[in-house]
Amino acid sequence: MSASQNATPPIIQMKGIEKHFGSVIALAGVSVDVFAGECHCLLGDNGAGKSTFIKTMSGVHKPTAGEIIFEGKPLDFADPRDAITAGIATVHQHLAMIPLMSVSRNFFMGNEPVKKVAGLTFFDHDYANRVTMEEMRKMGINLRGPDQAVGTLSGGERQTVAIARAVHFGAKVLILDEPTSALGVRQTSNVLATIDKVRKQGIAVVFITHNVRHALAVGDRFTVLNRGKTLGTAKRGEITPEELQDLMAGGQELAQLEGSLGGTV
C-alpha cells in the first residue's frame, strides 16, 4: 500500500480546512489526504468536528479557509450534487434508504434508469431489478427478490445496499459516516468486509468512526480529530489501539479512567 501511495498522488487532498459557524470554530485547520484503494479512518470523539469535516468534503459546507484538491484540481462545490457528480459519495449515518420502498427502487432512487416507449419516458424496472440483484450478490447479500422492501433488511444489510449503490454510481471517494455505530457484532463484521471489498476495487474509503477496534480492523491509515484539529495521521502498524484511544480522548483523563475500567473502553 505505502509503495503505491508514494507513486501516485492522493485522489483527494484537504489542505488546512477551517470552518467557522458564527463565533464557533468547528474546524481549525485540518489537513488530510486520501489515496485511491485505501481505507482512511477518521477518528474522533463526539463534537470533534468529524461531521463538519466530511460535510465539507462532500460539498454540504463551504470551508471558511483552506483548499480541497480532487484528482489534482482545486475544487469548489456549489452543492452536494456537484460532489456526487465528481465521484465523492457519502453514506450517511441516517441512511438515504426508505423502508417502505423496494430494494431496487431504493437502489436507483434519484438515478432511475429510463427507457423510451412510444416517445414517453418510463422507469426501466427490468434493468433496475437485474442490476440490483447483481450488485447485491457481489456484496454477498441474497435478496428474496428485487421487490423486497428495505424495511425487511437488517441494519448491516441496509448499510451494504447504500454502499453498493454508491459504488455502482461511480464513487471514487466513498465517505462512510459511522456505518457501524448502531450495529451488532455480526452485522458490523459484514459491513467491515464490505468496506474491504470496496477498497480492493480501487475506491478511496473515508471511514468515520469513534470505535478504535472497528477502525483498526480495516483501516490503512488513521487520522484523529480532536476539538477541530488533527493530531496527525498514522499508518497501520505504527500505532497501538491504546494510543489511538488516548488521542481521541485528547489527554490524560481517559488514561486514568482506563486503569479502573481494565482497558475495556
Binding site: P80, R81, I84, T90, H92, H94, L95, A96, M97, I98, P99, L100, M101, R105, F108, M109, G110, N111, E112, V114, T121, F122, F123, H125, N129, R130, M133, E134, R137, N142, R144, G145, P146, A149, G151, T152, L153
Partner: protein, 370 residues
C-alpha cells in the same frame, strides 16, 4: 431475474397470502367484491343494476375517483390537502364569474380557472415546503379562505350564492363539452334499438335509450386513474413521489427534488378538484357556494380504503379508485335498497376505521417491524 436461486436458510418463505397482503390494492379489491355481493343479494330488483342504476352509481363513483386520484398521489408524496372541497366550490364559482357575470367566452373562463386553481395548489405546496408546517394546518387555512371567497364573491357582485346560466353561456363552446358532454351516443342508441338497455316508451324522447351516452365525468375519472397509475408505478417521477413521502430527508440526500415533487402534487390535486368542479357546473348549469362541502374528507377516506398510508410513501391509485367505487356504490346502493341514507355516514366511519387498522398491520408486514 435469471439468477440462480441461492436460498438463505434464514429467510422464511413467505406465503402467497402474505405476499398478496402487501399489495396496497388488496383492501380495495376485497371491499369492492363485498359491496357488490351485498347489494346483488339485497337490492338486485331495486333497479340498481339496470342501465340507469349503473349509470347512477358510476357517476357518483367517478366524482369520488377524480378527487381521490389527486389526493392519493399527494398522500403518497407525504402530504394532505384539506382544501379540496373548498377548491371545488371556488373553481365552480370562478367559472360562473368569468363565463356568466363577465360573459367571457367559456373556454377562456375554463382555462383561467384551471390556471388560478393550479396556482393556488402551488401556493399551498410552496407554503408547506417553505415553512415546514404540517400540510394539515396550511390546507385547513385554505379550506376556510377559499370557502370564504366562494361565498363572498357572488354575494358581493350578484347578491346571491348561486350563479346560474352556465349552460347557456357554454352553448357552442369548443372546450365546455370536454367537461360537460357525453360520448358514445351511437353505441347506446344501438344498444337501445337491439333491446339491451331500456328505451323511453312515451314522450318527446320516445325510442331514445334511457342512458344515452357516457358523461365526460366518467371519461375524466378513467383517464386520470390510468394517468396516475402509470405515473406512480412506471416512471421515475413516480419513484420520486414514493421517496418524498417515504422519507423526505433520505430522498433529498439521494438527489430527489422533494420540494418540487410535493408542490407539483399539490398542483395536481388542485387540478383534479378543478376538473370535478368544471364537470359539475357544466352538468348543473350553475355554480353554488356550498359545492364540494366535505369532499376533502371523502377523498382522503377513499384513498385510505384503497390502502394508502396516512403517513405517506405507500399506496396505489388503483386502490384509491376502488375505494371511490366502494364509496359511490354504497352511497347510491343504500338509496336503492331503501335504507335510511344517514346510515351511509355510519358505514363510512366504520369502514374508515377498519381500513386504517388493516393498513397499519400491512405496514408492519412490509417493514418487518414486530
Amino acid at each position: 431475474m435469471a439468477d440462480t436461486p441461492q436460498i438463505d436458510e434464514r429467510i422464511k418463505e413467505i406465503s402467497p397470502l402474505r405476499r398478496a397482503l402487501i399489495r396496497p390494492e388488496l383492501g380495495g379489491i376485497v371491499g369492492t367484491f363485498a359491496v357488490f355481493t351485498l347489494f346483488a343479494l339485497f337490492a338486485f330488483d331495486s333497479g340498481m343494476f339496470n342501465s340507469q342504476g349503473v349509470m347512477n352509481w358510476s357517476i357518483v363513483s367517478a366524482q369520488f375517483m377524480i378527487i381521490a386520484v389527486g389526493a392519493c398521489l399527494l398522500m403518497i408524496a407525504g402530504e394532505f390537502d384539506l382544501s379540496v372541497g373548498s377548491m371545488i366550490g371556488f373553481a365552480g364559482m370562478m367559472i360562473a364569474v368569468f363565463g356568466v357575470v363577465l360573459a367571457w367566452p367559456m373556454w377562456i373562463a375554463i382555462i383561467i380557472t384551471f390556471v388560478i386553481c393550479c396556482a393556488l395548489g402551488a401556493l399551498n405546496g410552496w407554503i408547506v415546503v417553505r415553512t415546514g408546517l404540517p400540510s394539515f394546518i396550511v390546507t385547513l387555512a385554505f379550506l376556510f379562505i377559499l370557502r370564504g371567497f366562494t361565498i363572498y364573491i357572488p354575494q358581493t357582485i350578484e347578491r346571491k350564492t348561486i350563479i346560474g346560466g352556465i349552460r347557456d353561456a357554454a352553448e357552442g363552446d369548443w372546450l365546455a363539452p370536454i367537461f360537460g358532454g357525453k360520448i358514445g351516443q351511437p353505441i347506446f342508441q344501438w344498444l337501445g334499438d337491439i333491446g339491451v338497455i331500456g328505451v323511453f316508451e312515451r314522450g318527446t324522447r320516445a325510442g331514445q335509450p334511457v342512458v344515452d351516452g357516457i358523461p365526460m365525468l366518467i371519461v375524466w375519472a378513467i383517464v386520470l386513474i390510468i394517468f396516475g397509475h402509470i405515473l406512480l408505478t412506471r416512471t421515475r417521477f413516480g419513484n420520486w413521489i414514493f421517496a418524498s413521502g417515504g422519507d423526505a430527508e433520505a430522498a433529498r440526500n439521494s438527489g430527489v427534488p422533494v420540494n418540487k415533487v410535493k408542490i407539483l402534487m399539490f398542483m395536481f390535486t388542485a387540478f383534479c378538484a378543478t376538473v370535478l368542479a368544471v364537470c359539475q357546473v357544466m352538468e348543473f348549469g350553475s355554480a353554488g357556494a356550498d359545492r364540494g362541502l366535505l369532499k376533502e374528507f371523502e377523498a382522503i377516506i377513499a384513498v385510505v380504503i384503497g390502502g394508502a398510508l396516512l403517513t405517506g410513501g405507500y399506496g396505489s391509485v388503483i386502490g384509491a379508485a376502488l375505494g371511490a367505487l366502494i364509496f359511490g356504490v354504497v352511497q347510491q346502493g343504500l338509496f336503492f335498497a331503501g335504507v335510511e341514507s344517514s346510515l351511509f355516514r355510519v358505514f363510512l366511519g366504520v369502514i374508515l376505521l377498519f381500513a386504517v387498522i388493516l393498513n397499519t398491520y400491512i405496514r408492519r408486514i412490509i417493514t418487518g417491524e414486530r
